[in-house]
Amino acid sequence: MAVDERTSTSVLQPSFSRLPLASRALAFFGRPFPWLIIAVAALFAALPLWTGNVPLRESLLLAAVYITLASNLNLMIGYAGYVNFGNIVFFGLGGYIGMFLISTLGLPLIIAVFAAGCLVSGLALLFGLGILGLRGAFFALATIGINEAVKAFITNFEPWGGAAGIYLPLDVFAELGGPANALWVVYFALVAVMAASLFLSYGIKISKFGMGLQAIGQNEDAAAVLGVPTRLYKSLAYAISAFLPAVAGALYYFKSAFIEPGGAFDLTLSIEAIVMVMLGGHGTVTGPAIGAFLYEELRGALLTMDAFSHFQLVIAGAVLLLIVLFAPGGLMGVVYRVWPRLRKVLP
């Protein structure tokens, strides 16, 4: 296992995880990075509100969803070194559970969204206990299998609309003050989920748990010998990385008011999330977020250009291949090489 592949080194000060909880919280907010997250989230929320620019809001909404997906995927790929090819299954299942709870049981949005997150997380824990005994490439194959199997199951599952999917009636938006208002509510919620993802990613990175995950990523056998409970940590990371994508999925599909299996479990979006993580730099906190934002902008630009609208996949593939072959550390890898001091400020 080549260690030099990883751009991530620890930002942990040795005493951090031994501090009592209250002073740990103080120490957490004594660092610049959490404030940066808050500033970015505030900017996301405020920009479209000030300008009243709806296309800008839609583009930022997609960016927030992508950042959520990429950040959480990074917990597995970047920290634990396990490739989760089927990560979109969390987003899609979250969407499905949310839609089902809202349309059939008539639950309010906030309860449906949290229930979706918890259920999908629990399901991921079950899946994880099954497949996380697999190492490396075998695990990656199994995750593709999970996504395809869930898609096939839901396509055949009549209570959830089968292949036709679920539509939400328009009156569900009434309790949020009508459709136009509901879109803003969902947007702010998604920005909050994005900020939570970044906090989670940063919090895990500097915790003992995160150290354990990164040890697994470097050399799993060595980590196990040194006393890292590898099986437990991997399963936890897998379940945690499911929660916020599921919440985002429930919110996103509530906004669309429509969900069907082909779109919800589209392996392409899964792979695009991997491209985002690799583009920004896996194993870093900032990298996946920047990668996701850049990818969203790139995608938007390509889709509006006539010549390239059909070649979105080709270009994403080429970008991924070039990164893997020539800059495996991604953007943050390059940034750290040029300005090594930034490693402390932008983990």
């Binding site: 296992m1 080549a2 592949e5 790929i77 070194g81 490739v83 090819f85 099954g130 497949i131 005994g133 697999l134 490396g136 490439a137 075998f138 990656a140 194959l141 199994a142 593709i144 299998g145 999970i146 395809e148 199997a149 898609k151 096939a152 199951f153 396509t155 055949n156 392996l267 392409t268 792979i271 991997i274 690799m278 059909h310 070649f311 979105q312 996949l313 080709v314 270009i315 994403a316 593939g317 080429a318 991924l320 291949l321 893997v324 072959l325 495996p328």
Partner: protein, 286 residues
């Protein structure tokens, strides 16, 4: 009861084609420890090669096989040097991502050229009737061709110089290099061979079922199941694994709708991965 038996035999016929496809995947894995995620795209290339060659020249799809084999080999060697060579000795994450990136590009180009609408290759072959049932001619022909190609591969791996070199590299690359085998060239040859097998099986599948640019995913998933059944890196086990998968599908077909098969395949896949990580047919490894 006869219906189930017929369905089983048909499953074995189709399963040997799955086995052929999986042999390409498992060969590459065995030699260079790379899971080739372009596998599905290569199968699709084989399908479209069959479609355009038969439509363009009026040849029978079986006559196009040597051409597909050669073209698939050349394509595989090129692919090796572009996408795989630099990641062979690196962690799995990198080789998985590199081959997946190549897969995305191939599928993207394919979608742009041929859209995602279904195609089919018309073949008329007389079937064999048995009571009320008929074994389709194309299924029998495909199974026969698959078996011939599989035995050719066996011959190549065991009785030719390059085949012995491939097995040596797969056993221990450093030792092979020490005794003077040009291992990098052997790797590119093995990758080409794996790609050629994928393309040829694509051509055979095209004579059985209609296909789209995106069909590759389903067959790639089947190939994974087969390789896991047969033991990764074990071509002989690949064929047995394919036949097993065909049997399972044949057994399931009379009892449940076809759209449930991916769920069964996946359950089988995970169960075997967890219970027999070295494959059910691991003993068959010579």
């Amino acid at each position: 009861m006869t219906g189930v038996l017929v369905s089983l035999i048909d499953g074995v016929l189709i399963g040997s084609v799955y086995g052929l496809a999986a042999m390409g995947l498992t060969l590459i894995w065995g030699v260079m420890n790379v899971i080739n995620l372009t596998h599905g795209a290569l199968i699709v290339l084989g399908m479209f090669a069959a479609y355009f060659l038969t439509a363009g020249s009026g040849l029978s799809p079986y006559a196009t096989l040597p051409l597909v084999l050669a073209a698939g080999f050349a394509f595989g060697v090129v692919l090796y040097w572009i996408a795989v060579h630099r990641v062979v000795e690196r962690p799995h994450l990198m080789s998985l991502l590199a081959t997946f990136a190549a897969n995305m590009m191939l599928i993207g180009i394919g979608t742009a050229l041929w859209s995602t609408s279904p195609y089919n290759v018309p073949v008329s072959l007389p079937g064999i009737s048995w009571g009320y049932y008929t074994f389709t001619g194309t299924h029998i022909a495909a199974a026969v061709v698959a078996l011939i190609i599989a035995s050719l591969l066996y011959w190549l791996l065991h009785y030719t110089r390059i085949g012995k070199a491939i097995r040596a590299v797969s056993n221990n690359r450093q030792a092979a290099e020490l005794v003077g085998i040009p291992t990098t060239r052997v790797l590119s040859f093995a990758f080409g061979l794996g790609a050629a097998l994928a393309c040829v099986s694509g051509t055979l599948i095209a004579t059985l079922f209609p296909f789209t640019v995106l069909s590759g995913n389903a067959y790639q998933l089947k190939s994974f199941v087969v390789t896991v059944l047969g033991g990764l890196g074990n071509p002989a086990g690949g064929l047995l694994g394919g036949i097993t998968l065909g049997l399972v599908e044949g057994l399931a077909a009379p009892f449940m709708p076809i759209s449930w098969t991916p769920i069964i395949e996946f359950a089988l896949f995970v169960a075997v991965l967890i219970l027999y990580p070295r494959g059910i047919f691991a003993f068959a490894k010579a």
